[in-house]
């Protein structure tokens, strides 16, 4: 198991992503951050906190569970559903930024787009990701990337966050390096 992103790097990456989001959307008034549970939800909250500190205004953020839209439901035992919380202004006509920890095949994000379509019609949808590990199986890319980490398919990328795991770190496991 090797450490590829220590805590200070994660913090710097989230700060940079926050600035990029503000720059691209010309401020925070029209943005809504939606994190994909479980770790994406915590990352969305952190980015919302950083942005509201920079701009001195509250930022709309929530969570979006995608379980019911997954395309691999039939291949695994039933999964527990996670909470979906949509902030007060909804998603209609907002610039929604989906937040997740790792971008891999892109299937989670496809499911998230479907789940989002059920709630409303955002003005635009953007994607922020902590780690892009490659191996896309769908035509999906991230707008904001914490770090590109080339991996082999047999490796796993493990993201630990203080809220859940007691420390911030990204590790790579296996694959016979």
């Amino acid at each position: 198991m090797s450490l590829v992103l220590p805590a200070p790097d994660i913090s710097r990456a989230l700060t940079r992503i926050s600035h990029e989001i503000l720059e691209r959307n010309a401020g925070s008034s029209a943005i809504t951050l939606l994190g994909i549970p479980t770790r994406g939800a915590h990352l969305a909250k952190r980015i919302a906190e950083i942005i509201s500190k920079i701009e001195n205004v509250p930022v709309q953020f929530g969570t979006l569970d995608i379980t019911l839209h997954r395309d691999d439901l039939r291949m695994r035992p039933p999964r527990a559903l996670m909470p979906t919380t949509i902030p007060s202004l909804g998603v209609e006509d907002r610039n929604v930024i989906l937040v997740d920890d790792v971008l891999f095949s892109g299937r989670t994000i496809r499911a998230a787009l479907d789940a989002l379509g059920e709630i409303g019609r955002p003005k635009s949808v953007q994607l922020a990701i902590l780690v892009d590990r490659g191996h896309r199986e769908l035509p999906i890319r991230a707008d904001y990337v914490g770090k590109n980490i080339p991996t082999s398919v047999s490796q796993s990328v493990i993201v630990h966050l203080t809220e859940l795991d007691g420390a911030d770190e990204v590790l790579i496991e296996g694959g016979g390096e």
Partner: protein, 315 residues
């Protein structure tokens, strides 16, 4: 979990996971798009050999919100009324590719028979078998009580629930006693001795013959329907006397705790076990029970059918 036949088959953790799943799915029913793609391509058969409004429509709505195909099948108007056996009916459904059968039947144990036989390979969901069990009703009742009254937001610890009336003929009562006590509630059955089944002393609940003695101490009161169609002998002298001793009326509503709720699984005999005032009053959550029923049944269908069963799935 492949089938849902009895509350006894559920652990406390499994029961709570069904309630939690229903809570998330309720959001779909409240949203603008009441449809999810989750069970697309699955076929669900509603096999109702006994009459039903709520349960059948509720399962149908739940299945359709999850995009499953639903085939409705009732005894009237099918070959069951020509005397076709359950076995032949089941094999027909299997041949048509049913992934799940929701069965209501007048014979206690019908759902078990269907699940334990090799007549069909799909999931079996018990939607009421004779006077035995009605697990999805108990789950929706627990869900409703939890939503209004739970102290932990998780189980029903510390709550007292009275189940009043025709316990003898009620599968709802049996399933509720098992489930509510499993979730930590104290259950009290209130009925005339003639309407309590043999062996009720061994159920995990208290028993009382006096509604007025119990009413002020409970957090929820669940009225049961007097099941005239199952009554083959005289169980109480007359309807007026039953109403006076065991009916829920305005005086008894006033004796309830301030935040107590009034429940009824439906269909109601207004004026017999419950007055119209009590059924339509501010304490009544009877209509909400129906809405919650759809969420609970979506959760059951999701947990039984969405994942693969082949690799030892559990919930």
């Amino acid at each position: 979990m492949k089938h849902l036949l009895s509350i006894n088959d559920l652990s406390k953790v499994e029961a709570i996971s069904i309630l939690d799943t229903a809570q998330e799915l309720a959001r779909v029913s409240d949203g603008p798009m009441k449809k999810l793609p989750t069970l697309r391509g699955r076929t669900i058969v509603n096999l109702f050999a006994e009459d039903s409004t709520r349960t059948r429509i509720s399962f149908e709505a739940a299945a359709k919100r999850l995009s499953a195909d639903v085939i409705n099948f009732s005894a009237k108007g099918s070959s069951i009324s020509k005397g076709e056996s359950l076995k032949d009916t089941a094999q027909t459904l299997q041949a048509m590719g049913a992934d799940a059968v929701i069965i209501r039947h007048g014979a206690s144990g019908a759902a078990h028979r269907l699940a334990d036989s090799n007549w069909m390979s799909g999931s079996v969901i018990n939607a009421g078998d004779g006077t035995h069990e009605h697990p999805s009703q108990a789950l929706l009742d627990a869900f409703t009580i939890r939503k209004h009254l739970s102290k932990s937001g998780n189980d029903l610890a510390g709550l007292r629930v009275a189940i009043v009336g025709d316990v003898l003929h009620s599968r709802v009562a049996r399933s509720n006693v098992l489930l509510l006590s499993k979730l930590g509630a104290q259950v009290i059955l209130v009925a005339p001795p003639t309407l309590l089944p043999v062996g009720v002393e061994s159920w995990p609940c208290e028993i009382s013959y006096d509604l007025d003695a119990v009413i002020s101490s409970v957090d929820a009161v669940m009225m049961l329907r007097i099941q005239v169609e199952r009554m083959t002998e005289l169980f109480f002298p007359n309807a007026r006397e039953y109403s006076r001793y065991f009916g829920l009326n305005n005086d008894r509503i006033k004796a309830l705790k301030p935040d107590a709720i009034v429940m009824h699984p439906g269909p109601m005999n207004r004026g017999l076990e419950i007055t119209a005032d009590a059924a339509d009053g501010a304490r009544s959550v009877i209509v909400e029970q129906v809405a919650n029923g759809v969420s609970i049944r979506m959760a059951i269908l999701y947990l039984l059918l969405a994942g693969s069963q082949e690799i030892g799935a559990t919930i």
